[in-house]
Structures are given as structure tokens and as C-alpha cells.
């Protein structure tokens, strides 16, 4: 190849009547012009850099990962839900109730709902910590749902979290609504923990054991002000009588999680425990004012199996069981005088579970079914069994279409057999929910 080239060049120069010196000179001139161009290019590039000097103090590169999620729904129910409840577990949402939230919950209204906007910011603080802030915005409320720092460099497989966060109790509790498989919360989670679950201020420490399978132990020390099962506030009954506030911290959580592969099926199981004081202050309720103070303990067990069918298709089965033991004193005001007429011993032993099966067909379609059941609902007030019964369940089915990873439309149907009206009769409710969930900004990874 080279020889031919040289030969042809030589022939050409001979034909042109030139000499080798001429050729060399030509090459030299070419080289010079190349060097010239190079210099020019370098100059241009430097000029480009110089332009940036006007932004010497710009800190754009430090902008945290930002994402915004919007959740909307259209809801149709066969029966109204305002005056129905799960006796012994939930209250009817009548006017004037002091449930802490002045906004309707998820899918709370018939027709259109703007459920929430979730604004998340995340970045590294320094070599030692990452920080995450997740802001739950409803139409007229701004809530710091989570704001926590995570350790980056603890030895021995330890991880520390400080701030406000979702407890790692159970399976669903630590998950944000937009990653749930259904538009609403399971009955037992909703009844015992409320829509926001165990979402508390405190410290969490977890340890990943150096085992060949996944083994994770965690302990959390939390404020304990979940208004459904835990509380630390003082309750004022009269000027003389009251319940003192709980010594901080009120709530302690512990859990163990185990994960491994059985063939190609991924397995994750866990047991959880939460213990603290309960304080319920519904004295300003119009319908039946009451207060409660006592001890509350939760036990949880969960199991998830996920079978991959392809990169885009899998089947997931999840079951979670939660039990609550509540033991304390119920206070009911006397309607006619300031003196406290009733101070009654109250114990509750309640449990329930949900079980769901989700089939992800491809990148776009997912479908699933869920069964909710209350297994136990023993409420004993002043030695008398209230006989509320545990005949409460719900069947749900959903079909979802993902236009992209950031755009999900979900149709859900619930056959809800868990609510009773004020007369104590069961109210069967058919619910249809159409949910739209959109996200912009940084890409959240898919956790297990």
C-alpha cells in the first residue's frame, strides 16, 4: 500500500518535472498550515472558556436531583362514605372531627381529586451525609413528609438516618403512594396507622449482616405522635383531671428483613414490632367526644415473592399482616357537668392483612388483584365485649397503562364490604377509581 503510494507520488513528481526537495517543501508548508489551524482552534476554545468567567460564582453544578410528582383521580362510589366507619377501627368522618387533617384524604371526593403534588429534592451534603426532602403538597397545605439525612460512610454495614421519615415497619409503610400497586391504602394499614402510616421524627439505625443472603436488622427511636395508634401529647380533661404527656421518645420500632433468591424467584420477608404510648384526643368531636390514653403495640409480618418472566414482565405476590394490642383508659365527658362521668378500661386486640397479586405484562400494561381482610376485632370496654365483629373485607382489581415510565393511568375497582353506618348496618360500596400519576425531573429508580 505504502509502496504503491510512494511510487505513484514519485511518478507524479517526475511527470510534473519536480524534485524530491519540492515535495518535501510542499509537505512542510502543509504541516505549517495544519499547525496554524491548530493554534487557531486552541485560541477559539480558550475564548469559549473565557466567556464562562462571568459565571465564576455560579453553583449550577450543585443543584440537587429534583422531581415533581402529580397524582389525580376521578372517583365514583355507589354509597357515600362520610357517615360510615369500621367500628372499633375507624371513625366516621363527620363535620368537626379533630382528625388533624383538614383536607380530604386520598381519593376523598366523588368526582375529580387532586390528591397531591410530591416535590422531592435529594443530594449529597458532604462526604458523610446525603439529604432527602420530600414535600407533600395538597391544594392548601404544605407538609414536610420526609426530611432526613443518611449516613454515607459508617463502617460494619451500619446505616444511620436522622430526621423525619417513614418508618421501615412492615412492607408498605416505607413506600410512597406513587409506588403503591393500588390507588388506595390497604384497610388494616389505614385503620391502625392512618393515611400517612408511621411517619415520624427520630433516629433509625440499621445493620446489613455480612451473610450470603440479605439480612437486615433495624431499630428506630421515634417521637410517636401517630394519632391512630400512638401519641405523646397531654390530654386535658378538666382543670384538675388530665393525662400527662409521655416522656420522649415515645415510639420504638424494631424489624428484621430477610431476602434471597429461590431459583429465579426473588424473596423478601420481614417481621416488625412497634411499641409506644397511645393518646387519642377526640374531645372536641361533636358526635361522641372521647379521649384515650394507654399502651399500644403493633406486630407486623410481610412476605413478597417476585418471579421474573422477562426484562419487562414479572409476577409479584405480596402479603402483609398487622396486629395491634391497645390497653388503657377511655375518657368520656359528662354532658351535663364538668365532672368526668366515665373513666373506663378499654382493650383492643385487632388484626388484619392484605394480599395482592400483580402481573406486569410488558412495559405498558400491568394488572392486579388485592384482597383485604380484618381478621380480629376484639374490643372490650369496661369488661364488656363490644362485639363489633371482624366481618370486614374488600376486593380490589386494577388495570394500568404506562404511556411511559413517567406517565401512568390506572383504573381500579373496589368491592368494599368493610364499612358500617351509624345504625350498625353494613354498607356495601362499589368504588371505581381512575388515577393519573405523572412525574417530571430526576428519574427515581425501581426498588424491589
Amino acid at each position: 500500500m505504502q509502496k504503491t503510494l510512494l511510487l505513484s507520488m514519485a511518478t507524479a513528481s517526475l511527470l510534473m518535472g519536480g524534485t524530491m526537495e519540492d515535495l518535501q517543501q510542499q509537505v512542510q508548508t502543509q504541516q505549517q498550515s495544519i499547525d496554524l489551524l491548530k493554534n487557531k482552534l486552541e485560541g477559539l476554545e480558550q475564548g469559549k472558556k473565557k466567556k464562562d468567567s462571568s459565571s465564576s460564582f455560579a453553583q449550577k453544578a450543585f443543584i440537587p436531583d429534583i422531581s415533581l410528582i402529580g397524582d389525580f383521580s376521578y372517583v365514583n362510589r355507589s354509597e357515600e362514605t362520610e357517615h360510615t366507619s369500621m367500628p372499633g377501627l375507624t371513625h366516621a368522618h363527620g363535620a368537626g372531627d379533630s382528625h388533624g387533617h383538614d383536607h380530604a384524604g386520598l381519593n376523598g371526593n366523588e368526582g375529580f381529586n387532586l390528591n397531591y403534588a410530591e416535590l422531592a429534592l435529594q443530594s449529597t451534603v458532604d462526604p458523610y451525609l446525603d439529604m432527602t426532602g420530600i414535600f407533600h403538597l395538597t391544594e392548601s397545605n404544605f407538609e414536610i413528609e420526609e426530611l432526613y439525612a443518611n449516613s454515607r460512610g459508617l463502617p460494619y454495614g451500619l446505616g444511620l438516618k436522622v430526621g423525619k421519615f417513614f418508618s421501615n415497619f412492615g412492607r408498605l409503610n416505607a413506600m410512597h403512594h406513587h409506588v403503591w400497586n393500588f390507588a388506595d391504602q390497604p384497610l388494616i394499614n389505614n385503620a391502625l396507622l392512618g393515611e400517612h402510616g408511621i411517619n415520624e421524627k427520630g433516629i433509625a439505625l440499621n445493620w446489613v449482616a455480612p451473610t450470603p443472603f440479605y439480612l437486615n436488622f433495624g431499630v428506630e427511636v421515634l417521637k410517636g405522635s401517630n394519632e391512630y395508634s400512638f401519641g405523646d401529647a397531654a390530654i386535658t380533661l378538666t382543670e384538675e383531671v388530665g393525662v400527662e404527656k409521655v416522656d420522649a421518645p415515645n415510639l420504638k420500632v424494631a424489624y428484621v428483613k430477610v431476602g434471597t433468591d429461590i431459583g429465579d424467584v426473588a424473596f423478601l420477608g420481614g417481621v416488625s414490632y412497634a411499641d409506644g404510648k397511645a393518646r387519642i384526643d377526640h374531645l372536641s368531636d361533636e358526635a361522641s367526644p372521647h379521649a384515650f390514653a394507654g399502651d399500644s403495640t403493633l406486630y407486623g409480618a410481610d412476605l413478597t415473592l417476585k418471579k421474573p418472566l422477562s426484562s419487562y414482565s414479572d409476577i409479584t405476590w405480596t402479603t402483609e399482616y398487622i396486629k395491634r394490642e391497645l390497653d388503657g383508659t377511655q375518657y368520656v365527658p359528662n354532658a351535663t357537668s364538668d365532672a368526668w362521668a366515665k373513666e373506663m378500661a378499654l382493650t383492643k386486640e385487632q388484626s388484619g392483612l392484605y394480599s395482592s397479586l400483580i402481573y406486569k405484562m410488558d412495559s405498558e400494561w400491568r394488572m392486579g388483584v388485592r384482597y383485604d381482610d380484618i381478621l380480629k376485632n376484639d374490643v372490650v370496654l369496661n369488661g364488656a365485649d363490644r362485639a363489633y365483629g371482624d366481618d370486614m373485607n374488600r376486593y380490589s382489581a386494577m388495570l394500568e397503562y404506562n404511556f411511559s415510565e413517567f406517565n401512568r393511568l390506572r383504573l381500579q375497582y373496589n368491592k368494599d364490604n368493610s364499612k358500617f353506618n351509624e345504625a350498625g348496618d353494613k354498607v356495601e360500596n362499589d368504588e371505581i377509581l381512575l388515577q393519573l400519576n405523572l412525574s417530571i425531573g430526576s428519574h427515581g429508580a425501581h426498588t424491589f
Binding site: P127, R152, V208, A266, A445
Partner: protein, 293 residues
């Protein structure tokens, strides 16, 4: 007493091995070429899976818990599954920016680096096309990055790593010449692929991309796009090929093939993605043999 001593020596030997986790099989194979028996490697993704979508199994967390080094492809190829696993593994050595974290994409000149991105263009990677392993000329760069990182982490074996790297690249240069010869006839050929998985390969051997089967990155094929693609193929004068990865749905490719009589050629995206692609060398052999057969 003797047995105790032997056990102690054996365990200390076991402990002296550098434990490495890698995201994909090709990284495992290159690392083995550099490190031989000096390291123990755990590979996270399965070679037949779509590298973007790996199930974040809890068992992967335990694989990351004890390693001294994590080597990833980077360029956001693992963005959908790896970050939460790293976070949950509580391993200080492998947090991004820590000494035991190696992002290979940082060493590569990436194609399609976007200065501005919009998801109106699909699920795009702002840092550029992350499928750079398809260019065999990137392998020595990757090998160098791995050799340098291992030399830093395990400095007592530095010479071995560097020696192995030299030997590996010397052999590799010969491969590059041989593959270049074999690929010469493919210059100028136009290719249809599902996702922009093989762009680096096309660019290296001067082939051209006619179009992708997916209309936009991460968006499933629409019938409108497929019909347009078929008429585009029929109008095209240059020689055409369909190069298909092993994990995407073949329905659209089969339809195109049936309408245009183009052959679908299986192309591995990773070592072990196809039978015979069982080493980094055979990975390219397998691609090129698939094309030339």
C-alpha cells in the same frame, strides 16, 4: 496445631483477595483478564436481561455489602436499579465518589452527549449513549481504568495488574486489526436496530443507522412508525441489515422482516448474552461472525 496454622493461612489468603462487584458480565470478563485469581467477582445483572431494567433483588444488596470495589458501566445505564441497592448495602467503600467506586463511562468519549434534553424525545440518557462496550476500541481504555483502580486498591499486586494489562492490550491490538479486516465489506451498510444499542459498533465500522424500531428511546413501537420504517426500507438503495438485541420483543422486527425479506441478525449486548459470546473476545467474534455468516 499444624491444622490450625493452615486454616489461619488459608483464611488470611481468602481475605487478601479483593472482592469486586460489577454491574455487567463484560466488566467481569475484562476484570478477570487484568486480575486473574487476585480478585473475586460478583456480577449483578444477568447477561440476557435488558441492561436498563434489572430487578433490584434483595439478594443483590447482600452481594454489595462486603465488596472492596464496585465497577459500573455508568452513563446512567444503571440509573433505574443500582442507586437504591448501593444505598441499602451500607458499604462505605462503594458510595459514589468513594475509593471503591469506578464508573467506566467517565473514561470514555461518549456519543450523543446532549447539552439539553427533553423527555419529549423519550427516555434519553443526558450523559450520552451508554452502550459504549459495542466498540472494541473502548476495551483497552476500560482495561486501563480497571488496572489503575485495582493497582490503587491492592497496591501490593500493582505490578501483576499492570503486566496483565500490557499483555491483554497487546493481544487486543491484534484482534482489532483482524476484526477491522473482516468488517471492511460492511462499510456503508445501513442498519435497523430496536434501540440505539449498537451505535458505537456502527460508527467504528462506518456503518449507518437507518432507524430504530422503537420510535423514541424507551417508547414501544407503534404501528405508524413500523409502517413508515417499512416504506423507508423499500425506498432505500443501500444494503440493509436488521441487528436485533436478545431482550426486546421481536414482534415488530419479524413483521418488518416478513414485509421486506431482511434477515434478523442476533447481536449480543453483553458477554454471555448469546451462546458463544462467552468472553470479551468472543463477544466481538460473535457479533462479527453473526454479520458475516
Amino acid at each position: 496445631m499444624k491444622i490450625l496454622l493452615i486454616v489461619a493461612i488459608l483464611t488470611s489468603m481468602a481475605f487478601s483477595k479483593v472482592e469486586v462487584a460489577v454491574s455487567y458480565k463484560y466488566i467481569e470478563d475484562i476484570t478477570k483478564n487484568i486480575a486473574g485469581d487476585l480478585v473475586e467477582i460478583e456480577t449483578l445483572a444477568k447477561p440476557k436481561e435488558d441492561p436498563h431494567f434489572v430487578m433490584a433483588r434483595p439478594s443483590l444488596i447482600s452481594k454489595l455489602r462486603n465488596v472492596d470495589l464496585l465497577i459500573l458501566n455508568g452513563g446512567q445505564l444503571e440509573i433505574g436499579w443500582l442507586p437504591p441497592l448501593i444505598k441499602r448495602a451500607n458499604n462505605a467503600k462503594i458510595f459514589d465518589g468513594a475509593g471503591g467506586f469506578l464508573d467506566l463511562s467517565q473514561h470514555i468519549n461518549m456519543l450523543d452527549v446532549h447539552s439539553s434534553v427533553s423527555r419529549a424525545d423519550g427516555d434519553v440518557h443526558p450523559d450520552g449513549n451508554p452502550h459504549f462496550i459495542l466498540d472494541p476500541y473502548n476495551v483497552p481504555i476500560i482495561a486501563k481504568a480497571i488496572a489503575d483502580k485495582l493497582s490503587k486498591i491492592d497496591s501490593s499486586n500493582k505490578e501483576t495488574y499492570q503486566k496483565n494489562y500490557e499483555a491483554f492490550t497487546a493481544k487486543w491490538d491484534k484482534n482489532l486489526i483482524a476484526w477491522g479486516e473482516k468488517m471492511k465489506p460492511f462499510k456503508g451498510k445501513k442498519v435497523i436496530q430496536y434501540h440505539k444499542s449498537f451505535d458505537y459498533f456502527l460508527k467504528r465500522y462506518k456503518m449507518e443507522l437507518l432507524d430504530t424500531i422503537e420510535p423514541l428511546p424507551g417508547i414501544s413501537p407503534t404501528s405508524k412508525h413500523i409502517m413508515e420504517l417499512i416504506s423507508k426500507i423499500k425506498e432505500e438503495k443501500a444494503a440493509l441489515l436488521i441487528m436485533h438485541d436478545v431482550y426486546h420483543n421481536r414482534k415488530a422486527a419479524k413483521l418488518i422482516s416478513a414485509k421486506t425479506e431482511l434477515k434478523i441478525i442476533d447481536v449480543p449486548h453483553d458477554v454471555d448474552a448469546l451462546q458463544g459470546a462467552d468472553s470479551i473476545e468472543n463477544f466481538y467474534n460473535s457479533i462479527i461472525n453473526g454479520l458475516t455468516k
